[in-house]
Amino acid sequence: MDNLTLLSPFTLDDYVVTVELPLRKQGCSPDSAMVLRYGAYVGSVVLVYPSLGRAMDTAREHISSREESGRSVANGSVILASSLSLSKGRFCRSWYAPPGGLWGCLILADTFLAPFRNFLPLIPGIACCEALQQFGASEAAIRWVNDVLIQGRKQAGFLIEGFRSPVYGEQYHLLGFGLNLNNSTFPAELQESAISLTQVLGHPIDTVSFGLSFLAKMRYYIGLLLYEEERWLARGGGDTYEEEHPILKRWKELSDTLGKRVLFGYDVMENPQYEAVVHGVTTDGGLILQHDDGSTSVENSGEVRYCRE
């Protein structure tokens, strides 16, 4: 088992103060301390398991059992496991999660305003990409919505599932994450499409340090989401958010999807729908696709695969 137990709320707080905050202050965000305070609940509880079936299921059970005993789950709780035996991606695709990776689930109560929820799925991709670059994988990039690729192969995947708690009826976002770090062997069907950080760097990395970096960045960007919500409300709010959100701006900087010719589909592996060129993204994160006849359409849901050039 990895020493994931070293990844605790205390070590995360320490990492945020000693590493993340100074890094943010070097950037151009003057309110980084405030933003990190807004996101401080992320990782306020960290539950570490040697192995699990599926972290999302454990999160559901955790929320349910807390409520059934008359308590509620701490918002921002993180569930981590050294390995997962029943992990799966969207559309029940297999996800291989042996020891060496960072596998888990972040529990977020749905306290977000409607116009801002669309930015939530962008956050794990940004956080992971930044952490990878910090650890030396400078070529890491995001494929819409939040797949993280290195050398065209998937290093990390994320999914968000909604869950309504059984007793109090509270709505949660369960943010599942799977990051290939020190695991270097994949099943035959994934060998061409998956990659781990250790394969890229040529040496193993400290899983706990990487986990701290990833969670600190999750804390920053979820804080930024809430911080921007407050600023937007102070300006009068409304039904939609028409400006370019700083999260979307950062996503654009880290994504290599813009300008690419892609195959689009709701479930692109099973049912690819059409090829088009990515013309841009809308202010709410939707993909603007230009068809071969010059017309464009916007897709807010689905996935893409890059076409070979």
Binding site: P121, F158, I160, E161, G162, S295, G302
Partner: protein, 218 residues
């Protein structure tokens, strides 16, 4: 929902005026410039992926950012609020009405929407039935799948965020499905129409009567 329906009155209404009047509103604040006139023919959005825009109806400009708004439905501009031409309007201001000619299927759906409980899309997203409901539909048919308030019936998918949608409405069977899995649905658009089991004979009667009446007319 009443058991008694005055078929002659309903059908008479559609015979005398077989159109739907679709009001078009300003999507946000801005200065409006109309691109159609009263009486103009309007083409609907088309293409396999709904990627070919319909007729451009108006341009709305906010902060030097002009946005052309195009038609989603076909028809004729039956009224135009021309007093707004070149003026600044608030979001939600009515700008025109399109008279859309109804087909037989649309008339049936239109009548059914008045008698079924319609469950609407909470956000613009893609929708699909939850695994449980989908497997029940596959085993039988949607019209034999009973749902009640609180049931997880549909998954809303938006930006790789899948959220269960819980039914709130009358207990009944899923009579009409208005969405196609994998195709975006606008916020507020109908997702399903639910019918209490004891009202099913009435619904069948409506469909049979409208079909017979329309076929006779045609």
């Amino acid at each position: 929902m009443s058991d008694e329906i005055d078929f002659d009155e309903i059908l008479g209404k559609y015979h005398s005026d077989p159109y739907e009047y679709v009001d078009i509103f300003a999507s946000h604040t801005g200065k409006v410039r109309f691109l159609v006139e009263e009486g103009s023919s309007i083409e609907a959005v088309s293409g396999e992926w709904k990627h070919i825009p319909g007729t451009a109806l108006f341009e709305i400009t906010r902060e030097r950012n002009p946005k052309k708004v195009t038609a989603l439905t076909n028809g004729v501009v039956s009224s135009l609020c021309s007093e707004h031409e070149g003026c600044f309007v608030e979001a939600g201001e009515k700008l025109m009405t399109i008279r859309h000619p109804l087909k037989k299927k649309e008339i049936i759906e239109s009548i059914l929407k008045e008698v079924l409980f319609i469950f609407h899309a909470p956000e613009r997203a893609k929708y699909f039935f939850s695994l449980d409901v989908q497997s029940r539909i596959e085993k039988k048919s949607a019209r034999e799948v009973s749902i009640k308030p609180g049931d997880e019936i549909i998954i809303m998918s938006l930006m790789k965020r899948d959220t269960p949608v819980y039914y709130s409405g009358e207990k009944g069977v899923i009579h009409s499905v208005y969405f196609t899995p994998g195709v975006s649905v606008d916020q507020g658009a109908p997702l399903i129409g639910v019918c209490p089991v004891d009202k099913l004979p009435l619904i069948k009667k409506i469909i049979t009567r409208v079909k017979a009446d329309w076929d006779k007319k045609e």
